[in-house]
């Protein structure tokens, strides 16, 4: 038994170290000028471009736009997906399989294909190059993840709890806020996290629908990766990672604050 626990700890922490160690790579690359084989550390460090990159007004614009897009996408995705996932998770009805497949479709079709077609219609209705247009296309690609996560949460939760509360005389609003929401909250957080992450890392869709009017962090970052400018690419990557992490930590903290009791006492 003791031995088993050690293996568990070993597996888990090996994985954790493997997850984090690439960050060290990025930090080193961000500061290295020359790093010839076989040196384990860069033979020449530099911080030349660092200040210029970090202080540029474009970066501030990009971070703000990225965060705004990701937040709006998260809200839009949850609003759309919550009822549908509840339907698919709790009820058996004709078309349930079709719904599940439809919600999974955006993951299966290469993003550029759909976005190019969508761009045509967005131009026609005047949504191309607008924040709303970009949020819509980000939401399309966040739906599959959020839908699956929430659907399983509802499946596991089952219908009984809501029904019991209703039988005890709770109104629909009361049932929702006192029973449903606390029960699905961990799932909601996971779904929100995925939606946020999907939106935050979108490149090609922001590109096509935003048409360059909306500047996001990936739009700054990707050209440097493609151009082999590891310096700038690493700096922007670090900005990207830490902004996203900070936003997610904040999100979880807010949720915990509001649902402290139910979330921890009734896991």
């Amino acid at each position: 038994m003791k031995w088993g626990r050690d293996v568990v700890q070993l597996v888990m922490w090996t994985a954790a170290v493997a997850c984090v160690s690439p960050l060290l790579s990025l930090i080193m690359l961000a500061f290295s000028a020359q790093w010839p084989f076989p040196h384990l550390l860069p033979s020449l460090f530099t911080a030349d471009h660092l200040a210029k990159l970090l202080l540029s007004p474009r970066l501030v614009e990009a971070v703000t736009t990225s965060l705004a897009l990701a937040l709006l996408t998260t809200v839009a995705t949850l609003l759309l997906v919550f009822p549908a996932a509840k339907a698919a998770g709790l009820y058996r009805f004709r078309g349930r399989e079709a719904l599940k497949l439809l919600a999974l479709m955006p993951v299966m079709v290469p993003a550029a294909t759909v976005t190019m077609g969508l761009h045509y219609f967005m131009i026609r209705v005047g949504l191309a190059g607008t924040m709303l247009g970009v949020v819509i296309v980000h939401t399309v690609f966040a739906v599959p993840y959020a839908f699956r996560i929430l659907m399983y949460v509802f499946e596991i939760m089952g219908e009984q709890q809501e029904e019991q509360a209703a039988m005890l005389g709770a109104g629909p609003l009361m049932v929702f806020s006192a029973v449903t929401l606390p029960l699905v909250m961990p799932g909601m957080v996971a779904a929100a996290t995925m939606s946020f992450v999907i939106s935050f890392s979108q490149y090609i869709t922001t590109f096509i629908i935003g048409g360059g009017r909306l500047l996001t962090v990936p739009l700054l970052l990707v050209p440097h990766v493609q151009g082999g400018e590891l310096h700038a690419a690493s700096v922007y990557s670090l900005v990207f990672i830490f902004t996203a992490l900070a936003a997610l930590v904040l999100l979880r903290a807010v949720v915990r604050h509001y649902y402290r009791e139910t979330y921890f006492l009734n896991p």
Partner: protein, 281 residues
């Protein structure tokens, strides 16, 4: 008791949204295709090679990342508090864009990468060319490493989230009744996890099957995956190439969709058996 229309009303907004956006976008793009374009794609002598390569890369990545991810999730559940901390760390690979991971994989696994340097210091090699080729290689090791770095934590995170709310109760009951950890895992956790794993497997497969950047930057030039082929046709100036590129994209989507259909009917059989056993949690 409940109006039969309730699930339809609940699903309506999402269905409307997806058909108006995704449906229209896809419909517009494929409307210009003819059979000729598909025949041109299927008749290319590289097509079969590409198809097999893409399928194998996606299949291996899916298998390893789902088995690994589920194992990691079990370990995290078992470790309780430690698992929660690791859950935070797992977010890092999930948020990291594929392109950035590509850079990092090159930096660590190339013949002048961190591992090769360690090998040099330990005296295993005295020249970068002696280090095994792990990027641009014919076995797609570099590509696979990127997918695994992104997907194992993704699978682990989703599994962990879907299990932690309920599993401790079941697991504790099982252990109190004298079940071994192995029995708890296979008899209790794994069945609970089956639908989640089915979904993550589908998502990871579809992603690896349709992704273009990673194989484009880390793959061998000798064979190309279908999405890379589609991209190269897309930027080709031959006037017919655009349509052939789109035809490849349709084929990619059709294969993913076909697999999803087979998969979900398999899932239905599995869950039907489970429901009739009456052990629905």
């Amino acid at each position: 008791m409940k109006a039969a229309s309730k699930p339809y009303l609940l699903a309506a907004p999402l269905v409307l949204f997806l058909t108006l956006t995704f449906g229209l976008g896809l419909g517009y793009e494929i409307s210009g295709l003819t059979l000729r374009h598909f025949l041109a794609v299927l008749g290319n002598r590289d097509f079969v090679v590409s198809l097999v390569a893409t399928l194998s890369v996606a299949a291996v990545a899916t298998l390893v990342s789902n088995v690994g991810g589920a194992a990691l999730a079990f370990a995290m559940l078992k470790a309780r508090a430690g698992g929660e901390s690791v859950r935070h760390i797992l977010q890092l690979p999930v948020i990291m864009p594929h392109l950035v991971v590509t850079v990092i994989v090159f930096h660590i696994f190339a013949q002048t990468g961190v591992l090769a340097r360690l090998a040099w210091w330990l005296g295993f090699i005295d020249d970068p060319n002696q280090f095994p080729l792990l990027v641009f290689d014919h076995f797609a090791i570099g590509i696979m490493l990127v997918y695994l770095y992104k997907q194992i934590p993704f699978v682990a995170m989703v599994c962990f989230d879907s299990l932690r709310g309920i599993s401790h109760r079941f697991g504790d009951v099982g252990e109190n009744l004298g079940a071994t950890p192995w029995q708890v895992t296979t008899r209790i956790y794994l069945p609970l996890l089956k639908p989640t794993l089915m979904a993550t497997a589908l998502i990871t497969f579809a992603f690896a099957f349709g992704a273009f950047e990673v194989p484009f930057l880390l793959g061998t030039p000798l064979w190309r995956t279908l999405p890379v082929e589609a991209y190269l046709l897309h930027i080709n100036i031959d006037p017919d190439a655009q349509a052939r590129s789109m035809a490849i994209n349709v084929i990619i989507s059709a294969i993913s969709l076909g697999l999803a259909l087979v998969y979900s009917s398999a899932l239905r059989v599995v869950s039907h058996v489970r429901h009739s056993d009456g052990d629905r949690p």
